[in-house]
Symmetry: C2
Subunit: 340 residues, 2 copies
């Protein structure tokens, strides 16, 4: 198994990417890391580490796509960028299994769609972060969190199918799929929700459980939450923002009294463990579901721990053949005809 | 000043509504509470309290609209419901200033629009909760949080104007208005955002600061966040859900060790104060902006403290003439022509 890693993607590249890759190699055997980027720089950085040289390869790419560049333009104009070189290799080489990047989200999505290619029969791939829930044994997949700001009913139906396939590949039996809306009742929703709800109810081969609200996402009752990329992005960033805000406020309160400070001191480790658990970045990146191989988009601000998690996630998804299972499920599930 | 209060609205009506009303009367002078609902029941419940009888009136209404009823149908079929009777009185009597209800959100919105009436020139009123931010001195108004699941550019423009007027009435100078999107850059957004962004930039008389993301809502940098009611609902409920989830997880962690338990004990009061501060329900209800008088929708699960807060909020908004200022601002702000 070979995992391509964008050595020049993200705010802390290449140092943290390389450090994270080494950590992943140390933690798990059975895969080779292919670092993509300026070969000389990578070689020099690698020389600081002791590692199994048989498990690290370098794929040279002289260019870098930055987050400031317009993704479609950048992907077209920079064929020698780490992202483009990686996707080319992923597409052309049977032995390459996955790609991990903390670089420009837009460029990764465009590159994956244009260079690697969508699964046959799928209209739009989706960016899917895996979130923790209040149930320590359960995670929830949010599909889509931002790849498709405007969606049609057929897109949401296919997200439901892809999300189900992902959850099944992760070992969840008969995964529950819910539609994000502004109320749980069937009457709630905007035009898109009203159009897609009856279609989802009629779709055979998925376990659709109806509408849920934003407050239910983290409750651990469902395995997959589907929504258009705009709503999904609002949801995930509101979740991120409220956790940050709450921890900030808590700090303020704790420091405002002696009792608080003492309590805070005793809970310091607890808070740390919890924040680590909550930080979805440390669970790896968001999966780009619907393209022909495993593509993981790690957060731009990823440090080594997040990169390590993303690389191990890529290994896990490749081992579980998520992309293949998504394709099979898309082929087998019967979405009512005439849905567009 | 007279505040109409729906004695039969909400999960804990009439007991908690009446208790909350009494608390509000005790805390602040200068207004009369008009309890709307079954007179005999209200009278009997009131007899348990000692209060200034000159400051409490009862407006009889024999019927109640439940949350299970379809709002438009219920408002038409139940003219003697507490919600309909209250809106009729609010519309017809100069001396009535505001209405507070913890009842069916749909029925309150429909009743307000049909019976009380929209501000002239406004297309769609909006439901606007006031949220705390990490800056203890700042609050943020979310406009709309669910009254209009599908919006057109003109709606968002008018929300920006109404939100600005509200913030100005609350003493904020040159309030910052931001548009909720899936990225801060101008290129981000769905079709609606792309249409409305240039219009907002050209609108004279508001301080529009551009796009923000879900994670920025609680950061205290802006005073008003505008969005369609679907996105707003996803945002506010995701915020609510993540705070609930975080506190649940924290409890689990705290109880898992002796050190944690001790720390938790020391921080018990801190947590309590913070949760009270964070619970936007305790700040009153959501303001229904864009109708001719002050209408406050308190959370359905409101207990006495939340009802008290909502009643005092109604007094404050009426004193600050929020509805009148919204009308004036809608008349004075120049939204570019041809926006629909």
């Amino acid at each position: 198994m070979k995992i391509l890693i964008d050595a020049f993607g993200g705010d802390n590249a290449p140092d943290e990417v390389i450090a994270g890759t080494i950590l992943a190699l140390e933690e798990q055997s059975g895969f080779t890391a292919v670092l993509v980027g300026k070969e000389e720089v990578i070689k020099e950085k690698l020389s600081a580490y002791t590692y199994d040289k048989d498990r690290v390869e370098i794929l040279n790419a002289e260019d870098v796509i930055t987050c400031e560049e317009e993704p479609t333009v950048a992907v077209r104009r920079k064929p020698n960028s780490s992202i483009c070189v990686a996707f080319k290799s992923l597409k052309e080489n049977e032995e390459m299994d996955a790609f991990v990047s903390a670089g420009s989200t837009g460029a990764v999505l465009v590159g994956a769609t244009l260079k690697l290619g969508r699964i046959q029969g799928l209209n739009r791939p989706a960016l899917c972060p895996v979130l923790p829930t209040v149930n320590p044994e359960k995670q929830v997949l949010l599909c889509d969190s931002g790849a498709n700001a405007d969606c049609k009913p057929i897109n949401l139906c296919q997200f439901a199918v892809m999300g189900s396939a992902y959850a099944e590949a992760m070992g969840v039996e008969n995964p529950k799929v819910a539609l994000l809306s502004n109320g749980t009742e069937d009457e709630k929703g905007n035009m898109l929700i009203h159009e897609v709800l009856p279609v989802l109810k009629e779709t055979k081969g998925i376990n659709f459980v109806g509408n849920i609200e934003g407050r239910d996402i983290l409750m651990g009752d469902v395995d997959v939450v589907i929504c258009d990329g705009f709503a999904g992005n609002v949801a995930i960033k509101s979740i991120e923002g409220s956790i940050t805000a709450l921890m900030k406020m808590m700090k303020g309160y704790i420091y405002s009294s002696f009792k608080g400070k003492l309590g805070g001191l005793l809970l310091k480790d607890t808070f740390k463990t919890m924040m680590k658990e909550l930080d979805y970045n440390n669970r790896g990146g968001a999966l780009f579901l619907g393209v022909n191989k495993t593509v993981i988009k790690a957060h731009g601000s990823s440090k080594r721990a997040a990169i390590k998690a993303a690389v191990l996630q890529a290994v896990e998804y490749s081992q579980s053949a998520v992309a293949k299972k998504v394709k099979e499920k898309l082929d087998s599930v019967v979405i009512p005809l005439n849905v567009q």
